[in-house]
Symmetry: C2
Subunit: 433 residues, 2 copies
């Protein structure tokens, strides 16, 4: 599509549904996207806008006229509005918020009141509630009254007179029980999340609980909003893109790949590469310290890429497993002893297998002493790499740094350098250099 001229794009867009339009817009450059977007009919344009990434929304807004921007801004739900505001210049954001109705402004500022990273900033302040002393029939009447504004009507929080959350009912249960049944008699224990909680943890909790919406409460257990499963999904998807990028040693791109300028891709990667290269100068120093050994036995240098590669791979395996287990809540920082004990065993077993193989191959092709050096080094390197790799994400989490950010450079530098030290020490003692 992007190879064709803009009139073609416009003609094609008019034939597509919302999801397909989004997919095509995400593949265009910023300017083409702004031009194509302006050709969409108004109702469709707002539907498409709502579902774009916040960063692409901000790109678009810069290319639109003030009146259009104000209309779109008013049409967004308060939580989406706040996420967009984070991407806009402060002056524009303030001007837009002044253009809202009093009610919309109040709703928006509820959400804005929470710090970035807290689930309060991603919740919707528009919801339907019921009370324990109301009947199922009365609850249905409240649902019908709130049906136009509420973000979700399928999960209904139950509150007492002081707005405290005391339970939850599903619309399904409201429809299932008799009209005159009291809410108190069929409400379930609420699955509440505090508004200040980390948004990724809250989204994971929503997904794990298979809840269509989670009530969000303040420090006094008063209901302040709901987090819907579709917002939770978007949050988890962003978090997973971030984890994937960082596990691969770069910062996440904030736009879809094809619509990210080359300059931004370079920016997302260069800092990491520099940090890793800087860390790798440690290996140059280690190699320098053993230069005499190398000069005497040049054959030792042949195995260096293989040995540090294997160490890096073993370390990465462990770090990736633990990073993912942390993200899923399967492991917590206080499991450090258990994780260490397991990874030492795993590393030693892997090292034994690879070491025996390495011994056999190197002894057959070169000499038995060299085989011994390679075999023992693999055993040592694998054990060290797996245990260090397993601990790093836990340490990162404890220090409140993204476990993936923390693990990657550390493994690449520490494991490589330590692996080389192990290699040269084993070589010196076995070969008697």
């Amino acid at each position: 599509l992007a190879k064709n001229s803009l009139p073609d794009v416009v003609r094609v867009l008019s034939l597509l549904d919302v999801a397909e339009t989004l997919e095509q817009l995400e593949r265009l450059t910023t300017i083409d996207r702004a031009l194509a977007y302006r050709t969409l009919p108004k109702g469709r344009a707002i539907e498409v806008f709502e579902r774009l990434d916040a960063r692409l929304q901000a790109d678009l807004i810069e290319g639109l006229q003030d009146a259009e921007v104000a209309d779109i801004f008013a049409a967004l739900s308060p939580d989406d509005r706040v996420i967009l505001m984070d991407e806009l210049p402060a002056v524009l954001a303030s001007r837009l918020i002044l253009g809202l109705t009093d009610k919309e402004r109040a709703l928006t500022s509820t959400v804005l009141g929470y710090p970035q990273g807290a689930v309060g900033r991603y919740m919707s302040p528009e919801f339907v509630t019921t009370h324990p002393h109301l009947t199922a029939g009365q609850t249905m009447a409240r649902v019908r009254a709130g049906i136009d504004d509420a973000e979700s009507i399928y999960t209904i929080p139950v509150t007492d007179g002081g707005r405290h959350l005391v339970g939850m009912v599903s619309l399904r249960d409201v429809l299932r029980v008799g009209e005159s049944e009291l809410v108190a008699d069929f409400a379930k224990e609420p699955l509440a999340v505090p508004a200040m909680q980390d948004v990724e943890e809250a989204a994971r909790y929503c997904a794990d609980a298979k809840a269509l919406a989670l009530p969000i409460v303040d420090a006094e257990n008063r209901l302040v909003g709901i987090l819907t499963v579709d917002d939770a999904l978007r949050i988890l998807e962003d978090a997973e893109s971030e984890d994937a990028a960082r596990a691969g040693g770069s910062e996440p791109l904030r736009r879809p790949y094809l619509s990210t300028p080359v300059r931004s891709i370079v920016q997302a990667r260069v800092v990491w590469l520099l940090v890793l290269a800087l860390g790798a100068t440690l290996t140059v120093q280690v190699m320098g310290a053993f230069e005499a050994t190398l000069a005497e036995q040049v054959v030792l240098s042949l195995f260096i890429p293989l040995l540090i590669g294997t160490g890096g791979n073993t370390g990465n395996q462990a770090a990736t497993t633990i990073t993912r287990a942390l993200a899923l809540g399967d492991v917590r920082p206080r499991d450090v002893v258990k994780v260490f004990a397991r990874e030492v065993q795993v590393g030693a077993l892997l090292g034994l297998l690879l070491g025996l193989l390495g011994f056999a191959v190197a002894a057959a092709i070169f000499t038995i002493p060299l085989g011994l050096v390679i075999g023992l080094t693999l055993l040592g390197v694998c054990t060290m790499a797996a245990s260090v790799g397993g601990l790093m994400p836990l340490l990162g989490k404890t220090l409140k740094v993204d476990p993936a950010v923390f693990s990657n450079p550390f493994i690449s530098t520490f494991v490589d350098a330590t692996g080389l030290v192990i290699y040269f020490l084993v070589a010196s003692s076995v070969l008697g250099i």
Copy 2:
């Protein structure tokens, strides 16, 4: 918890809700989990069982008595039942299915009829439908009638007399419009997915469309089931665990980390390590071919870990970005030319930056010719690594191999070996060896 004795565990479990019980059970060993599970009251036990991973369900079933197993099996929904059956020995699975009622057996075999990996195997065959000529009021009556069995009542597919899918209505719209309004007048275009479609793509589509449930149709567009958002979430979570594991060079663990035996962790990692180590023998050969160069200039060996490390990092960055973009649908295999063009530019820019820095540092500490060698090698290695790294996931996808499986060993071996060749060729020509 796991450090305490079983009676403690049992006492604690009795105080927890379903989500907390699950979390604790997932941290126990297989035997402790079976013992603890049997202490749960019956209703709670089934609720907990339904939400366990299929692999843990299968572990548990082996420790329970036949009558208990039959009860639990009958209580599962047909799609969950099929996922569990995939984990059980075939004899046990067949015996269990014979114990079901005729209706449950028919529903289960609908789902069983689809191949593994197709969304048909993960859909629920229990749903409520409506017809275009019915009113909103009549639709509500159908919802109330099906409320006990249907997997979801919030998204209602609209079918014609031949069970063909012709639209979709949300329960919200059914409640919002007047009782006498015809479904035909407020139904939306259906977002259907064919039952044979890849389950991960279908789940991603469900998430992207922010749909609470997607209708699943057969080749003649007849409605055969629905995929609910909570099943889609579970599918995406498993897919992301798989991608994360493979990006880190291991097979995914099929149980939560702390409940996976050390032996299984070793199994998940050892094949990959062997493949990667085997590939790395290519580097030994390349090094061997240039042994004379190395013997003459031992100083060259000092930079080997740094140079191949940087190449590997650059390749990984590109591969991770493209793998993720493929998973999200931002990039497709036919974008190969665009991706290649971008990655060559990105790689060359990164190589230029790192190369200049490498030149400056190596020239300052060692000699200007050596600085030139390091700088030019970094430029060449980064450009090669980014473009190869970016292409590999696309090639994997085209060959229908998991892009992460394909990229990792290829980058580790090809990029390392090619990087060394670049290094020695640059060194030979600059230093005139």
